[in-house]
Amino acid sequence: MTERPNFDDYFDAIVVGAGLAGSAAALTMAQQDLEVLLIERGNYPGAKNVFGGTMYTPRIRELTGEGFEDAPVERHLGTKRFGLLSTEDETAMSIKPGQWQESPHNDTYTVLRGNFDEWFADQAIEAGATLITETTVTDLVREGESIVGVETDRPDGTIHAPMVVLAEGGNSLVSEAADLKETDPPEKVAIGVKEVRKYDRETIEERFGLGEDDGAAYHYFGEGACGGGVGGGFIYTNKRTLAIGVAYTISDAIEDDRKPDELLSDFKEHPAVAPLVKGGRVVEYSAKSIPEGGASSVPELAHDGAVIIGDAASLLLNNGIHLEGTNMAVESGYLAGNAIVEAIHAGRTDAAALQSYPEELESSYVMENLQNYDWFSDFAHDEKQFLFQQLPKALTEAELEFFKQDYEPKETHAKRAKNMLLRAAGGWTGAAKKAWKYRKLLS
């Protein structure tokens, strides 16, 4: 940058972090004619972003309109598979609905964040937002109790603005240092480690039974996926790469004798996984902290002069079956952006004037889902031995019995298999207790 324009006091809002939440907020505000500065610490938007997941795009599609046709997606999700792994066995369920193969593909895509996040930030820029990269926000500026700007690591790096949007991600250093958010305990934060491996396109399509444009998400649970921990393994298909990873809570990572990278290697060696991931070459190795504390970890969202959105606000759902964060990041950015537009038009930036953000979020699917599954994290930790170790093993043993070829009639095998499962669940009483305890999983 040859000449640095004077950013101080020029903008209505500063957005910290050009990830999905930050760019959604910037785009929403810029579309309604606010002056927005989007600050990204990486070389480009997406350079610091990692996910083990899929992009859920209803709100992105709505916000970007026709521009969405050019969104750099890898494959639409056509196949979802859940595999329960004991150390050597797999029991799996796979779905491939016809409807998902048709546009808009249930708004679910695999993407490379390096491409996708840059494209999404570009949409905000086209709408009028200003992006600066390679700039790290190090602190907030306060006047009394109100937040009135940010400190950055640029020379003369203080930038004042009426509103600050904290979209700094799960490793939310600024929000925590400013006492806007408590640091979660290690049971409430997961670590995800991921290897991206490159293959021939045909290899990926053959191994996963895919056409040219559809993709697959394989989720794995149980001891073979991530030891005794609460978490799992995953494989996502991109066009020419596979994203292969494991994610489990930091407290489980402390307990496990293996380090996260060793756990990842063990997962790749599982007999059910190895044939899918063999060969290729590693093109990237990454890790990310994942805020899994649910509703009880969501901090106060609106402050005098600032809001918190996305992963920084712990807006992430993991209930074992649904692993969602990208959609909630965008939704929170959108709702926060609208609230700020409203407040700025009213000439205010105090927390009370920003309440429509937490209120709208509260009545949206975001908080609805988080509250509905708030019990899951504690539940999964209490039940982890049964869920992730005993259950996969018992299932395998019962399946072996059920399908066994010998000279005994099917009825004998079926009865024996049923008894094995019942025993694993702790007999009739245990099973009844478990059924009661687990009922919420199905509701």
Partner: protein
């Protein structure tokens, strides 16, 4: 030993092999550190070492003390921050666009 003799051989890359694939820009000062050396001297579990996916935190040799910090390996996940039971980890974002640059993410 696997009961599946035909399970294909899978590459077990070392941390170094994995990191070699990444794009990294060095910054001169470590963005990681500890607040109090004393705390590490009293620590027996070294949870920072256990959770680090990139061998940044190292408790090498059998001498007790502050772990070695190979900050240039850092994937910037922040796990060490939550892992340390004494809240003794200093963690700053690498400045001015340095550190890891993810292309796939």
């Amino acid at each position: 030993m696997s009961a599946h003799p035909k399970t294909p051989e899978i590459e077990r890359p070392s941390i170094e092999d994995r990191l070699y694939a990444n794009k990294y820009t060095d910054h001169e000062d470590s963005h990681l550190g500890v607040f109090e050396d004393e705390t590490c001297l009293d620590c027996e579990t070294y949870d920072c070492v256990s959770v680090c996916p990139a061998n940044v935190w190292r408790n090498e040799g059998d001498e007790d003390g502050v772990p070695l910090i190979a900050y240039e390996n850092c994937l910037e996940c922040g796990s060490c921050r939550w892992a340390c039971p004494y809240d003794n980890v200093i963690w700053e974002n690498p400045p001015n666009g340095t550190g890891m640059t993810y292309r796939y993410g």
